[in-house]
């Protein structure tokens, strides 16, 4: 393996080891919340529909609504794997000094960590899909290879956006003592505007038109709909997601450069 790739692979291996040491913690932090969130939505929507499958709300029957939320959960497993929670601590406590010497940059290190997590979460997502396919019958999982492939591709693109956004917030620690409030704020907005709680068809029309220009719908609603077999024109989807991903990456680069000029290497 080329030395450049080897560095990435070895960092990923270290991340896997770390995650495996605290398996229960990983489950409680990442998988548990998704399962509980899904269970709440399942209960809530079943209650809203009163158990009747012939009723339609926003164009969804009960089984379509439950199917939608199942795919939202699966898309979330792939997309929202990055947390970048340690990033700000690294900066605040002066731990990034070592990255300035290493032949592997701070961004590369965190990107490799993100990829390591991503691999695990993709495996978990695949296991979930297969389990649901056999356990819940075709009622909730319509297994269409083309939709699955496109859905996974869009989810991976959205996953990169999520990593880039979290990374940007993390490196704001050059100026802020705590960045977790911004991360949680972004999560709250994302859950609401992405259609993770309520499908966007139920939102006011004008609001949805505006939302389509933001990255939010591409984090839950769009990937879930694609995975369900409703494939929209892909060019705008990929275009808008790529724009936001590149834009955030560029801002991160500028913020990093500006931040480094202020960095005092605390503890050195």
């Amino acid at each position: 393996m080329k030395p450049f790739l080897l560095k990435w692979f070895q960092t990923m291996q270290v991340s896997w080891s770390n995650l495996m040491v605290y398996k229960l913690n990983f489950f409680l932090q990442i998988i548990g919340p998704m399962l509980v969130f899904f269970f709440i939505k399942l209960s809530l929507w079943s209650s809203i529909y009163g158990g009747y499958d012939y009723v339609k709300i926003g164009g969804y029957t009960l089984s379509e609504m439950l199917s939608y939320h199942l795919w939202v959960m699966i898309a979330g497993m792939i997309i929202m794997s990055s947390t970048a929670s340690n990033l700000s601590e690294d900066i605040r406590l002066g731990k990034i000094s070592s990255y300035l010497i290493y032949p592997f940059s701070f961004w590369e290190f965190h990107a490799a960590k993100y990829l390591a997590r991503q691999v695990i979460q993709i495996i978990i997502a695949l296991i979930t899909i297969i389990s649901c396919y056999f356990l819940l019958d075709r009622l909730y999982i319509a297994f269409e290879p083309v939709s699955l492939a496109i859905g996974f591709f869009v989810a991976l693109l959205a996953g990169y956006y999520w990593f880039a956004a979290n990374y940007l917030i993390g490196i704001l620690a050059f100026w802020l003592d705590e960045t977790w409030t911004i991360m949680v704020g972004l999560q709250i907005m994302t859950y609401f505007f992405s259609g993770a709680i309520i499908p966007l068809e139920l939102f006011p029309e004008t609001m949805v038109e505006i939302l389509y220009w933001t990255p939010f719908p591409y984090i839950s609603f769009v990937p879930a709909k694609i995975l369900m077999g409703h494939i929209p024109p892909l060019l705008p989807v990929i275009g808008i997601l790529s724009f936001w991903s590149l834009f955030i990456t560029l801002i991160s680069y500028l913020v990093w450069r500006k931040g480094l000029s202020l960095y005092t290497a605390a503890g050195m």
Binding site: E178, T181, I198
Partner: protein, 268 residues
């Protein structure tokens, strides 16, 4: 005996006064974080209320409640959340670190109850200001629902009872960190339980609802007092809530001692 109790209460109040002052001074040193905390909480409150509004734009009732009744319930739960965020939330996140680093030793040495010192040591003054918002929403929907004078008088006490039950349960759960290498994942379990409790009992199926009203009575936190407010004849869950508060604060004493017995005191 009575004199002794009063002198202990006085002692704890004087200690808490010191805690309040220290936390206010600290938060004034990190003003941006202070404002971000307020903003984060407000985003959460607004998204929770907006979600209900959007759903009710498409349905008449959810379960047995109309829009105003459910919004009043959600506002009540946000009121409990605001109290938790203000008085104890920070402590839950710091607790695993106290155990892991052995800093809990210094708390155990103090001539004051360790549970009090661990869980009530950190106050978030920013979240305290959000009381204006949560109480504003509670009062607004309370007025629409024509609450009686008795209801208005009972409301603050019911809110405190909800806060006591929620945190007794969460503190018991947090004690499991004594037996874990990395306990931060337990905080996500706590948050998931809060998510479950944030919806009325009738949205869950009978078995789940029964479990969450008895064995792990998180649904009593909001559903019991609100059902009692809406219909005074529906007092049984409210009685259960009172018993659950006593039971869980008792269990906390026991579990805390058990946890301390297995605490390895890393710094010693």
């Amino acid at each position: 005996m009575v004199k002794h109790i009063f002198s202990r209460i006085k002692h704890y109040l004087s200690v808490y006064q010191g805690i309040v002052i220290t936390n206010f001074i600290e938060s004034m040193n990190f003003r941006l974080h202070f404002f971000l905390l307020i903003l984060m909480d407000l985003l959460f409150y607004i998204s929770a209320l907006a979600s209900i509004h959007i759903i009710y734009n498409h349905v008449e009732t959810i379960g047995v409640w109309n829009r105003e009744q459910l919004l009043f319930f959600v506002a009540f739960m946000l009121g409990i959340n605001q109290l938790t965020m203000t008085f104890v939330s920070e402590a839950y996140w710091r607790f695993p670190e106290l155990i892991r680093t052995g800093d809990l030793d210094f708390i155990l040495l103090k001539p004051i109850g360790a549970v009090f010192s661990v869980f009530f040591r950190y106050l978030r003054p920013g979240s305290m200001l959000n009381m204006i918002f949560t109480w504003g929403v509670i009062i607004y929907y309370g007025l629409i629902l024509n609450l009686s004078v008795f209801d208005w008088c009972a409301l603050p006490f019911l809110l405190v009872l909800g806060f006591l039950l929620q945190n007794a349960i969460e503190m018991v759960i947090s004690c499991s960190m004594f037996w874990m290498l990395e306990g931060s994942g337990v905080n996500f379990v706590r948050m998931e339980l809060q998510q479950l409790a944030r919806w009325p009992d009738f949205i869950y199926n009978k078995i789940v609802s029964r479990i969450l009203m008895t064995i792990l009575p998180i649904l009593l936190i909001g559903s019991a007092p609100i059902r009692f407010l809406f219909n005074a004849n529906d007092w049984l869950p409210f009685l259960g809530m009172g018993l659950a508060i006593l039971l869980f604060w008792g269990v906390l004493r026991f579990v805390w001692q058990l946890g301390l017995a297995s605490y390895e005191s890393a710094s010693s």
